[in-house]
């Protein structure tokens, strides 16, 4: 994952021209799938992901039901053609971990007591990957859950920060992720300053971590505004 040898920052700018605290361009479309109860297509730079929500629906097997609340399930999956070297179809260990972390990122906002004994299924497919897919997935899933009419307290927004050439920067692309020194995906409930997912990979000092956290929090605010706008506008144009 960490390869050596290329200069990631030139003249104070990143290879793609971004500043240290700049997000890649984001595009959001709500309600793109017919069969799903809720859905969202989300682009973050060259990442293309689609999230769909089914539910609440009856949970099977019965013995796995929770008598008091709905059970949230999340499946992160990469399409074989989404990456440079074809990825064999099916879950691998990375997908399993990302699915778990993403599910836990969303659980705090879902009001599960409303639908006991049911399951709410979130499916996230990565159609094209350029680092940051799990964050794009969580952003899309948040929107899809709202779109499906799931009772929620708030939206969850997500972004990754990292360290490249000794600098803490926002939203790494694939090259920066491969050659950089650290990668930290974060998910938050933007309005409440509450972190619902946090992972770190690589090496950072405590100060760099704090700096990265602040960067991420600001970015999540921005992303939240975009998520909200997309949802509001969906019903504004008629």
């Amino acid at each position: 994952m960490k390869e050596e040898g290329i200069e990631l920052i030139k003249d104070g700018k990143r290879l793609d021209g971004r500043g240290f605290d700049e997000l890649r361009p984001i595009k959001i479309e709500v309600g793109v799938l017919k069969r799903a109860d809720g859905s969202c297509y989300f682009e973050l730079g060259d990442n293309k992901v689609i999230a769909a929500v089914y539910g609440p629906r009856e949970m099977h097997p019965r013995h796995a039901q929770d008598a008091k609340m709905a059970v949230l399930k999340y499946r992160y999956n990469m399409a074989p053609f989404s990456v440079d070297e074809r990825k064999r179809p099916g879950p691998d260990r990375r997908s399993v971990e990302i699915s778990k972390v993403s599910r836990e990122a969303l659980e705090p906002v879902i009001i599960k007591e409303f639908y006991p004994k049911t399951e709410i299924d979130v499916y996230v497919e990565i159609l094209q990957s350029d680092a940051g897919t799990r964050t794009a997935g969580i952003n899309a899933a948040s929107i899809a859950l709202a779109d499906a009419g799931i009772p929620m307290k708030d939206l969850v927004s997500s972004v990754a920060v990292g360290k490249i050439d000794g600098e803490v920067v926002l939203d790494l692309n694939a090259v920066e992720d491969n050659y950089g020194e650290a990668d930290m995906p974060i998910a938050m409930i933007a309005r409440r300053n509450t972190i619902t997912a946090l992972q770190m990979d690589g090496r950072m000092t405590k100060d760099e971590f704090e700096k990265g956290l602040k960067l991420a929090m600001n970015a999540c605010q921005q992303i939240y505004e975009l998520q909200r706008t997309a949802l509001i506008e969906r019903y504004s144009e008629m």
Partner: protein, 259 residues
């Protein structure tokens, strides 16, 4: 059903204790349970350690095998970390392929080792582009009384401390067995949030009572080489920062005492 009701009772019990400033076993909020580390107990493995934290028991074995390097790092060895939550360790563990908890455990421990570059992978090259040492770190959980991560991570580094390359067994460069020195000793510290209080080294009941937690893996120089948040609730930023600070401090303590 019966089990669930008991869980609620236990959860409330733990929560109420914490509100009164106490823990089930009388520890301080930032205290670890009694820790025992035994190195080199599995002779067949190239490195091994048995770690007990309270009643939690984890056995880590490291095996080395020659294998092919990854195409993009032809002169570097490979680390593969796996964890088995074997059924005998807990009534909740079932036989079968690794589930998400086992995958997460392995990947978090792996992250800490990789991020700290504890093993200099370039020292594991046998023949560039052709053959390198594959380091299999296998975590075998024997008894789950909470906080498997810290025990597993401690066990992994303890196993690697005396890692020997089994050159003879594979008929390679007959210098006998060579030791691989560690460049760093990352230590994982896991904390949970119960009722707003930060508790270090949660036991099984505390893990169930908590709604979120954080593992911080840090190195000898105080830098962080891995983090993972768990749980169904969020953590406020200030809590996270506090946990990171405690995590780095406690890691140092553990490192001095056991590694």
């Amino acid at each position: 059903m019966g089990l669930e009701i008991m869980d609620d009772v236990r959860r409330d019990y733990i929560y109420n204790l914490v509100r009164r400033g106490k823990r089930e076993d009388g520890r301080g909020f930032q205290d670890y349970r009694e820790i025992k580390v035994e190195k080199g107990i599995i002779k067949k493995a190239e490195g091994s350690a048995r770690v007990k934290i309270g009643n939690t028991e984890v056995l880590v074995g490291v095996k080395l095998e020659p294998g092919e390097p990854f195409p993009d790092s032809p002169d570097k060895g490979v680390i593969i970390t796996n964890a088995e939550l074997v059924p005998l360790a807990s009534p909740e563990f079932e036989p079968g392929p690794p589930n998400e908890d086992s995958v997460q455990l392995a990947r978090v421990v792996d992250r800490g080792i990789r991020g700290s570059e504890a093993i200099d992978l370039s020292k594991l090259c046998i023949e560039e582009g052709e053959k390198v040492w594959i380091v299999f770190i296998d975590i075998h959980v024997l008894d789950n009384d909470g906080n498997l991560v810290d025990a597993a991570a401690l066990g992994a580094i303890a196993s690697l401390l005396n890692l020997r390359m089994p050159a003879e067994r594979y008929g390679l460069s007959g210098e006998g067995e060579e030791m691989i020195p560690l460049q760093d000793k990352p230590v994982a510290v896991t904390m949970v949030d119960i009722g707003g209080e930060i508790l270090v080294d949660p036991n099984y009941n505390e893990e169930k009572a908590a709604v979120s937690g954080l593992t911080v893996i840090s190195n000898t120089d105080g830098t962080i080489s891995g983090m993972q948040k768990y749980g169904r609730e969020g953590l406020k930023e200030e809590k996270v920062s506090e946990m990171v600070e405690i995590g780095i401090e406690k890691a140092d303590e553990l490192r001095q005492r056991f590694l």
